[in-house]
Amino acid sequence: MSTDVAGVTGVVVRLKLSLLRNGLRQSGGRRAAYIASAIVVLLFAALQLLGLIMLRDNAHADTVVVILVAVLALGWAVMPLFFPGGDETLDPTRLVMLPLRPRPLVRALLAASLVGIGPLFTLCLFIGSVIAVAHGGLAYAVGVLAVVLALLVCVALARAVAAANIRLLTSRKGRDLAVLSGLVIAIGAQVVNFGAQRLGSSGLTQLDPAADVLRWVPPASAIGAVRSVSEGAYGIAVLQLALTTAALVALIAVWSRHLTRLMTSPDGSTLQAVAEAAVRERNSTGLARLLPAGRTGTVMERSLRYVWRDPKTKAAWVTSLAIGLIVPLFNALQGTGSIYFACFAAGMLGIQMYNQFGQDTSAFWMVAMTISSPRDAYVELRGRALALLLITLPYATLVTALTTALLGDWPKLPEALGLSFALLGAMLATGAWTSARFPYSIPQEGYKNVAPGQTGLAWISIFGGMIAAALLCAPVIALTIWLHVSEDGDAWTWLLLPAGAAYGAATTWLGLRLAAPRTAVRLPEILTAVSKG
């Protein structure tokens, strides 16, 4: 029996190695990327190993180590959700035709999970952590056990999460979620960055309470045990190790149960269709009834529905909304801000007007079939701009007001709002025009936002458009500056609100007017451009 188990484990580990090797053989670019990332990861691992060793004897060493281990474990838990396609051996449904019992299979898959750059990196970090906190021979001995336990907990955690979610990952909703996950990382990075800056100013002492809790949470508890041994608290160390072991056993049990269920029930992708048969009725919302009749309302309704329902559009919107809020607000919070940063919200949201038809994908043909004159094209573009304004106007106003409140600079609110509206108008105008002139495809699968071969087009469209928008705003900016430098101009800065709003509205109107005839005559070209990928 035991030789049999070893056999299965060996086969699965070799399978993992072959998959890795074959993946690299597919293309030179992929091989180069893999090697480069491996070198970077290993360098990083070596550096942090060095850093952790130097941290030894530092007062906060154990706090840092415990938190690092906890964060890394979190990463292991989240990773399979974001990169479901990353590891084919992660998908046990591929092994479903093989006559394997759950127990040897779990052991084999666990062993296979330990192969790769990720586990190696984790191992380096754990070893460094033990060196940083261990004092005395016994502590090192416990450290070896702790590293093994912690690593196994991480791997089992990833496997358990993946197995529990495999039904989600193979369904349409799951793939939609994966598109959104990229932006969770992007926004999370902003928040982490902000947190780190605060931490830099007030020191590591802030983290001590968090570390005191995490010391009892596996797998960080394993490293906690090493410190406990170093301090002579053997009872606590045994408890922490026991806790880690219990977590490992529990995770493996959960994973094994999900695995058995996955292997013995139908594939999730086909199951989904049946389960979703009973869907709730999608009634037209109250908002839809308030929209204007005719093409304008129809276009607005469809655009707004897509903001919510289409993962790519939603991701783009959430990113714009979040960054448009974070940049002015966080800068104001840190005291480095200026009220003019509030224009960021208008600018970020204005980007959504760019490549309007690319956002439709090849479904643009349905629009193209109903545009037979510049007038139709104008109403179509205006509907899309209005849908965008429905969200953007209140949002930009809110962000500007919040930034003003944080800075306490209320007299400057009208001019900041005026500038925001002028910028928004310029973005809508250039967005409409570049949508007609430089459309490009947005692939629906994966993380890419530009189809291969159209990157140049996308750059021209977005950056050319943004520079043009900035230039278009020049009169309002010049007026602002002039009012500030002229003698009693400050008394008249309130004028910038109506002036900016009027200027923005006029620019938008002009932009739509210019874009409409171009759209109407270029329908087949636009369709071809947005149908790639």
């Binding site: 048969a277 709730r280 479904a363 043909w365 193209a368 037979s372």
Partner: protein, 256 residues
């Protein structure tokens, strides 16, 4: 005989490859017309150019007497299209897609909703009308696409491979709707590479191969002396007599 569609010297080139090499064609009105040909013959390219979704390199197309490129207002209101390989607005439910499409065409809202209900009913989609199109099967997608193409009661309907990947039940439903539609005097132009289907459905056929029209006319004219349209087609495109012969003589039966 009046023509529903009139094509003159239509050309399209993609880089080095000529996709459509000068087509002249008069499609009679009120008929069920099949455009047949092997994969890569240029059927989709032709239909895209005829419906105004792809700009030709040369030639002209007119639909019910109006030039497709010079007079889009008249043409677009009179035609319905179901393209192949292009998406729909899949994040709308079936009913929402019809409501959107009908209102974009300028039909009054109440009328759109009434027609949508009937179309969903007839096409057997009423149960799935509130499901997002992205979760539809291939057959359901073809049916909702057909519903969107019929919603404004066009004079000429262009369908690119409407039966491709469609289950027999959905195919029968689509067929029933199309037969009823042509019986009222409207014209259907559809492309396919399934000869049996074309033979059983169409009364007028155009055969395409390598970007050119090889034959056209009523079913009987094109079939000529051949036993079936399939035979006539194979002769026309020059694939006849290419027998399996002695190759693969090891395949099947006897010794392994």
């Amino acid at each position: 005989m009046t023509s529903a569609v009139s094509v003159r010297g239509l050309w399209k080139r993609f880089g080095q490859q000529v996709a459509v090499a000068g087509i002249d064609l008069e499609l009679p009105a009120g008929k069920f017309i099949g455009l047949v040909g092997p994969n890569g013959a240029g059927k989709t390219t032709t239909l895209s150019m005829v419906t105004g979704l792809l700009r030709p390199d040369g030639g002209s197309v007119s639909v019910v007497g109006h030039d497709v490129w010079r007079d889009p207002v008249e043409v677009k209101a009179r035609i319905g299209v179901l393209p192949e390989g292009l998406r729909l607005f899949e994040r709308l439910s079936g009913r929402e897609l019809l409501a959107y499409s009908g209102r974009l065409r300028g039909l009054p809202g109440a009328e759109v909703d009434k027609r949508a209900t009937q179309l969903l009913d007839v096409l057997d989609l009423a149960g799935a009308q509130h499901k997002l199109v992205v979760d539809y099967s291939t057959g359901m997608r073809k049916k909702i696409g057909l519903a969107a193409a019929l919603l404004h009661n066009p004079e000429v309907l262009f369908l690119d491979e409407p039966f491709e990947g469609v289950d027999p039940v959905s195919a029968q439903t689509i067929r029933g709707v199309l037969e009823r539609y042509t019986a009222s005097g409207a014209t259907v132009v559809f492309s396919s590479h399934v000869m049996e289907l074309v033979e059983s459905l169409c009364d007028w056929v155009a055969v395409m191969a390598a970007g050119r029209i090889r034959a056209h006319g009523t079913l009987a004219e094109v079939r000529g002396d051949a036993a079936s349209l399939q035979q006539a087609f194979l002769e026309l495109v020059g694939a006849h007599g290419r027998d399996a012969g002695t190759d693969l003589d090891w395949l099947g039966g006897g010794a392994r």
